[in-house]
Every structure is written in structure tokens, then in C-alpha cells.
């Protein structure tokens, strides 16, 4: 859809340059894909379980595979597992593994490798990135070569969601990150932190005909300018995370195609519900009403995004989509502010930082829009280090950034008093009750009802202003095939380069 609009705009622009035809036909075998990404540095790693930068994620997705994964439609699909099923009390999950999958070193992958992987991730001495979401996991029991039991300490009906994270790639029992061996479509060839990684085709890959490429190169760039120039100079074949404001200009280049994916990412304003003036729910409601969401998406995201309705977990089956779309209502906002004791408006400080493309821009548009309701917003721009420093999660009025998640995992991360990133200090007893009930409810219909109800509370009283969901935009040369839009928020089809192929000249 978004690509269609872009193509239309390009056509209207009247550039008379002949466009290369889009690739058609079956995927071709062979070729080298050079991928450019911004981010990464000396701390880059090949370790399967501690990916941090975007380039780290690109590497782990291609070297390793988890038990389950989120596909381009944000559906949870089996990968190395064939199935993951909960017990009646959802405290025990049984996972059946795919048979005949081999590691890059030729060894068969079995239950013992999976158990060893989870032991490595949850090593109390040295917990890896995924450990924080596995605190509910008590033990992994090997039943036979291809059957395991995950025993939990808390009933969790959505534990499979946790198993689908890219940072939980299955590695052999004797895994050593210096010899990065996994089951992924590509095997390690060479790697220089902060510069480049070269991976070659895994000829024994278990999925039919994949990967199509002979070689995958991931190149680090230090800024967006260099990245875009490299694409225009054909030094790379595909780049991830193009600034949305530059999309239309890139689209005018006939050699380049844009991958514009709608996502459930969100870039909220965060109001602390336990501090004045935001401890008054009417002030929070007023602030949500002053936002012209359409204008936000236009100015901040250049129109490449969807309007938000103050709720996250856009793709959750329980997402409260029946609630009316909140729109700008300055008169009502003024009324609410007057009721709350601010008849002449009020002054607030908004702390912002370039934590993500569009953050500082969104703050400026908000300040502009809030003026109409008598809200004087003073923007305080700090650098990212200061933002995530000691005062992070303490600012009264600030911003944050989240990737796509479903409701329950997101709540665990940011909306409970026990969450590691509860920016708004949200602590609503009824909400917590509903969330806990939803977590242990196996019946999806009932669970979704509970989620909808919990979301309604946040929609009415919460501390987030969720004005929109940015698209994820990537760009690639037209001879690259197999890239599809994806809702996960990860660039370039979730980095699944096993499906990518080179057409035409290669």
C-alpha cells in the first residue's frame, strides 16, 4: 500500500528516467548481497545471545535460529521447533523440535543443545540479553532427543511469544562465540567489529532451496549520509533504516526501490502519572487531546506512518480497535485544564533527545500544537547519554521509543510497577489485576477480552501519548529480489536474507 503511494508520487513527479522493471520470476541462485547499516562499533559481537546494535541483530538472525519467530505479518511461526504447547495450567510448555537440522559443523541439533542454550542465556553469573524475559522459566527438561519441557514458576499463556525472540538462537552444547556456529542459513567466514562481516551460504540448510545467495556481506556505516551515498554509488545493494524524510527523494532514483513497512513501533510522549501536573488525569487527557495526530505523522514521519490511538501492541489480537480514534479537540482540552485548575494554561518542560529518528522533531511539533490550548512547552534537548543516564525514567514529561511487541510482553517491559522501563510510573490496581488474569488465561478469546479491557484503562487514563506508529523504511537496488515489508520493525524484511536473491546482472 505505502509502496503504491510512493510509486504514484514518483510518477507524478514527472521524472522521465526509464525505470528498471521490477524483478519477476522465480528466485535465481547465486550472487553476493552487500548490506549497509548504520550503527555498531567496536563493541559489535557475533555472540548469539547478546545482540545490541542493529548490525548485531542482522548477524544473529542469519547465523542462528530460535525455536519460533515472528514472520512479516507479525505472526508467531515455528522455526527450529515444530510446535510449542502449554499445559492446562500454562505452567509447563512442551516443545517438539524439528528433526534432521544440522549445525554449521555438521552435528545434528537435539534437545540437549536447546537445554544448553537456555542454560547459557540464563547463566546467573553472566545472564544474556534474553534472560530478563525468561525470569518466569524455572528449568528446561530434556524428555528425548526432540522433545523438551519448559517448566515455569508463573502461569504464562503466552510463553511461546518469549521463545520467538531473535536473541534466543539455538547453539551447540559446546558453543564458543569465537567460533560462531548455529543452524542459520549463512555460516561465518570473517568479521571485523564495527566494519564488516562476511558470511557464506550454508549448503546444508534445512529449508528447501534456501538461501539463494552465495555470500552475505554486512557493512557498517557511521552516518545516514554515507549510507545513502553508498547505495546511490552502488557500493551496497541494500540499506536499512532510511530516514523517512528522505524517502521521497530516494524514490525519484530509478535504480532504487523502497521497502516501506508499516510497523507497530511507537514513539510516545511519557507523562509521569505520580507527579504534578500529570498526577491529575484531566491534565493527561487534555495533553492527549491537543495532539493533531495527522499533522504529527505528516511533519515528523513525512506521512510514512499510521496514526496512533494512545495504545501500544497494535498487532495484538486483543488490541482494543473498537475504541474511537482520538482526534485533536482544543476546546475540550482547555475545559479539562480549567477543571484541573489551569484555566490560563500551564508551562511544562519536555525533555527530548535524538533517541530515535523523529523524536526531537515530534517534540517540536507537539510544542507548536499545544500552544493552541495555552500549554507552553519548553523543549529541553539533551544528548542521548544524558537522556538514558540517571534521570531516565524519572523525567516528568519526556519521550521514549519501543519496537513492535504484543500486549503482555510489552506490559511486562513498561507498564507494571515491576517493569524495568515504566516511564510513566503507571501503577493501576485494576490494570494489574486484568493483566495477571490474562497471563494465565489459555482461552484466546477470553484472554483477548481481558487485554481489551486493560487497554481501555490505559486509553482513558494512561500516561502515554501515542500519536503514531512510524514505518520502517529501507532502500535497495532494483536487482535485489525477495525483500518484503514486515511489521516487526526490524529493517530489511527482518534481516531474513535467506529469502533474498540477486536478479539481472549478477
Amino acid at each position: 500500500m505505502a509502496i503504491g503511494v510512493g510509486a504514484l508520487l514518483t510518477a507524478c513527479g514527472g521524472t522521465a528516467v526509464a525505470q528498471l522493471p521490477a524483478l519477476t520470476g522465480p528466485p535465481q541462485r547465486g550472487g553476493i548481497l552487500r548490506v549497509g547499516l548504520v550503527g555498531g562499533g567496536a563493541a559489535d559481537t557475533l555472540d548469539a545471545h547478546i545482540p545490541v546494535s542493529t548490525t548485531d541483530i542482522a548477524r544473529v538472525v542469519n547465523l542462528y535460529e530460535a525455536l519460533l519467530y515472528r514472520d512479516e505479518n507479525f505472526d508467531l511461526k515455528p522455526l527450529l521447533a515444530l510446535s510449542a504447547t502449554p499445559s492446562l495450567d500454562s505452567k509447563t510448555w512442551t516443545v517438539r523440535l524439528r528433526q534432521g537440522v544440522t549445525f554449521h559443523n555438521g552435528h545434528l541439533m537435539t534437545s540437549r543443545d536447546v537445554a544448553a542454550t537456555f542454560a547459557r542465556i540464563m547463566d546467573p553469573e553472566n545472564p544474556k540479553s534474553g534472560a530478563s524475559s525468561l525470569t518466569i522459566l524455572d528449568e528446561v527438561v530434556v524428555l528425548d532427543d526432540y522433545l523438551l519441557e519448559f517448566r515455569l514458576n508463573t502461569p504464562t499463556a503466552t510463553f511461546d511469544d518469549s521463545l520467538g525472540q531473535y536473541s534466543l538462537g539455538i547453539v551447540p552444547k559446546d558453543y564458543d562465540p569465537l567460533h560462531p556456529i548455529g543452524t542459520g542459513p549463512f555460516r561465518y567466514d570473517s568479521f571485523t567489529a564495527g566494519r564488516r562481516s562476511v558470511f557464506t551460504r550454508n549448503d546444508n540448510y534445512w529449508q528447501d532451496n534456501e538461501p539463494h545467495l552465495d555470500e552475505l556481506r554486512i557493512l557498517n556505516f557511521s552516518d545516514d549520509n554515507a549510507l545513502i551515498n553508498a547505495l546511490l554509488a552502488t557500493q551496497v545493494d541494500a540499506i536499512g533504516q532510511v530516514p523517512l524524510a528522505l524517502l521521497e527523494v530516494l524514490e525519484t532514483d530509478p535504480r532504487v526501490d523502497i521497502l516501506n513497512s508499516e510497523t507497530g513501533m511507537w514513539l510516545p510522549f511519557t507523562m509521569r502519572v505520580d507527579r504534578a501536573p500529570f498526577d491529575d488525569v484531566r491534565v493527561r487527557q487534555a495533553f492527549r487531546l491537543v495532539v493533531d495526530r495527522e499533522e504529527m505523522v505528516e511533519q515528523v514521519l513525512s506521512g510514512h506512518g499510521t496514526v496512533g490511538n494512545d495504545m501500544y501492541a497494535l498487532y495484538d489480537p486483543g488490541y482494543a480497535e473498537n475504541l474511537p480514534q482520538r482526534v485533536q479537540d482544543i476546546d475540550r482540552a482547555k475545559e479539562l485544564l480549567a477543571e484541573a485548575g489551569y484555566p490560563d494554561g500551564l508551562d511544562v518542560e519536555l525533555v527530548t533527545a535524538p533517541i530515535q529518528a523523529g523524536a526531537v522533531e515530534a517534540a517540536q511539533v507537539f510544542a507548536q500544537q499545544a500552544l493552541a490550548a495555552g500549554i507552553n512547552v519548553t523543549i529541553r534537548r539533551v544528548d542521548t547519554t544524558t537522556f538514558f543516564g540517571d534521570d531516565y525514567l524519572q523525567w516528568d514529561f519526556s519521550q521514549d521509543f519501543w519496537y513492535t511487541r504484543n500486549f503482555l510482553p510489552q506490559v511486562d517491559n513498561g507498564s507494571l510497577p515491576t517493569s524495568p522501563y515504566n516511564e510513566t510510573h503507571w501503577d493501576n490496581p485494576r490494570f494489574i489485576e486484568l493483566v495477571n488474569e490474562a497471563k494465565s488465561t489459555i482461552d484466546p478469546t477470553r484472554r483477548n477480552e481481558l487485554i481489551t479491557e486493560a487497554q481501555t484503562i490505559e486509553y482513558e487514563e494512561g500516561g502515554h501519548i501515542i500519536w503514531g506508529h512510524p514505518n520502517q523504511a529501507d532502500a535497495y537496488q532494483r536487482y535485489v529480489g525477495g525483500l518484503v515489508p514486515t511489521g516487526t520493525g526490524l529493517p530489511l524484511s527482518g534481516f531474513e536474507f535467506r529469502r533474498v536473491w540477486m536478479g539481472g546482472q549478477n
Binding site: L246, E248, Q364, Q368
Partner: protein
């Protein structure tokens, strides 16, 4: 040539013809024209909005980085020309205020040190050395991080970091003057110290001070623009040249005007004021020689 008239107050003339000597140099003329253009744009620019471009500097004119209007739109879809016209005045005012503050502090400290000598001299000059050891921008970053990026903090910090450099020059220039006989004469007539400093010493060190003024003005402009670029000077959504460069640099290859206009303005301004400063230096040097 400074003379002493024993019948009245000491003569307070600036060296005759300094202004004329400056203007007579070609590079001064070029400098004045260059600086004049930018200053004019900065002062008149805000008055022309939104009449000239149709937009104020914070209004949205369209989507970001679009070619519409004379120079297109910036990273938030605001008209670049409007932002440019509105973005110079604060920079100039802050730079002027910071320079003035630095000149005031530095001159007073330098003259006191030179005139009093002894312990006060040592205290002032060693304090100076400590301040000089701190790189200006690092000091500014530190102060702004602690106190917050308000305008007065920027002015204060830049002014204070200028002071020691100006104080050194002032002290050196004043040391030569205070040994002159006319100062002794004034002292004998029990003229108050502040009057001696103000009426006898100051007029005789204007040459070097003018050079210093020009130099510090250039540095102030650069420092304030740098701080804005780093996000620690002017805060968005204020239009500001330094900030504009930072905001629009991601589109440098594709929609460069948002960067080019402010860069050009700052470059012309600094080159212009440098040329003037240079001319002042030459003019006052010829005055010295003719003494």
C-alpha cells in the same frame, strides 16, 4: 601622540584618525560590506516574516525536505528561507552580549592587575592561567550541562571564557601605559584610581582592545553556533543558524539549502569580522609606530 595638559583633566583623545586609518584599507571595506550584509539579513529578516515567504519560522509549509518555496522545506517541513531569515538575530545578539561581557570583565581585570601590581596582579593572572587551561568549548559544555541550556547561561559562559584572554592583552597593553609620566601626574593630583584607569589608561589601549574585540566577536559567533549545533545553545523550535545545520545535515546530498544558507552566513560573518579586525590591528600598529 598623547600629551598632558597640566591645566585641566588629562586629554582623553583616542589616537587621531584611527577610524579613518581603518576605513582607508581595502580589506576593511570588504569586511564591512560582508559583515553588513549578514547583520542586515539577521536584523531585517525577522521583520519580513511572514510577508516575504508566506510562513513564520515555526509554521509548517509542507512535508520535510520538499523542494517547494525558494529553498525548500527543512527536516520538519518548515520553510527554509523563513527559518534562515529568523535565525540570525539571536546568534548575533548573544555573540555581541557575550563579547561585551568578556571585554568588560577582561579589561577591568587586566587593568587592575597592571595598575595595582603585587599580590592582586598575581591572583588575577594565576586565576587567568587556570581558566585558560580549560578549553573554551569543554568549559561551556560543562556549564550548560549543569545549568541548563538557557540563553543567559550561554552568554555568561562564553563571556567568562573570553575574559582571561582579554585580560592578558589588556594587562600587557596597560603595563606599558601606567609607567608614563601623565599617570604619575594624575596620581599626584589625587585623581581617584577608577578615574585614572577610565580616563587615562583605557583611551591609550583602545588599539589592542579593538583588535581583541573583533577577534572575540568572531570566536563568540563560532562558539555559539557550535553549541547550537551540538544541541546545547538555542533550543528547538527556535530558528537558529547553528541548529539549522544540525537539523538538516542528514539531507545534505539531497536537499542542501537548509545547511548551505546558515553555513554561508556564518562563514561570511566570520570572514568579514576577521577582515575588519585585521584592518584595526594594522591601523593601530601604524599609530604605535607614529608615536
Amino acid at each position: 601622540m598623547t600629551t598632558i595638559d597640566t591645566h585641566s583633566e588629562p586629554v582623553t583623545d583616542t589616537p587621531p584618525g584611527l577610524m579613518r586609518r581603518i576605513i582607508r584599507q581595502r580589506q576593511a571595506k570588504i569586511g564591512l560590506v560582508l559583515t553588513g550584509i549578514v547583520v542586515l539579513v539577521a536584523i531585517v529578516g525577522p521583520l519580513l516574516l511572514p510577508w516575504l515567504t508566506g510562513y513564520t519560522s515555526t509554521e509548517f509549509a509542507g512535508r520535510p525536505f520538499q523542494p517547494g518555496g525558494m529553498f525548500g522545506t527543512d527536516n520538519l517541513g518548515r520553510d527554509i528561507l523563513s527559518r534562515f531569515l529568523d535565525g540570525g538575530l539571536t546568534l548575533l545578539v548573544y555573540a555581541a552580549l557575550a563579547t561585551a561581557l568578556g571585554m568588560l570583565l577582561g579589561t577591568v581585570a587586566g587593568m587592575l592587575a597592571a595598575y595595582q601590581g603585587g599580590t592582586l596582579d598575581s591572583i588575577i593572572m594565576r586565576g587567568n592561567d587556570v581558566l585558560l587551561a580549560l578549553p573554551q568549548l569543554v568549559f561551556a559544555l560543562l556549564a550548560i550541562t549543569v545549568l541548563g541550556p538557557q540563553g543567559w547561561v550561554v552568554v555568561l559562559v562564553i563571556g567568562i571564557t573570553h575574559a582571561p584572554r582579554i585580560a592578558r592583552v589588556t594587562r600587557a597593553a596597560a603595563s606599558a601605559v601606567i609607567t608614563e609620566d601623565f599617570i604619575r601626574a594624575s596620581e599626584m593630583y589625587a585623581v581617584p584610581r577608577w578615574k585614572i584607569l577610565l580616563k587615562d589608561v583605557l583611551p591609550n589601549i583602545t588599539g589592542p582592545l579593538m583588535v581583541e574585540l573583533g577577534l572575540r566577536m568572531t570566536y563568540s559567533i563560532a562558539a555559539i553556533a557550535s553549541l547550537s549545533f551540538l544541541g546545547l545553545g538555542m533550543q528547538p523550535p527556535t530558528a537558529d543558524w547553528g541548529l539549522m545545520i544540525n537539523e538538516n545535515r542528514i539531507a545534505l546530498t539531497l536537499q542542501p539549502w537548509g545547511v548551505i544558507l546558515p553555513v554561508l552566513a556564518i562563514a561570511i560573518l566570520t570572514v568579514g569580522s576577521n577582515l575588519i579586525t585585521d584592518a584595526v590591528a594594522r591601523a593601530s600598529a601604524t599609530v604605535e609606530e607614529s608615536k
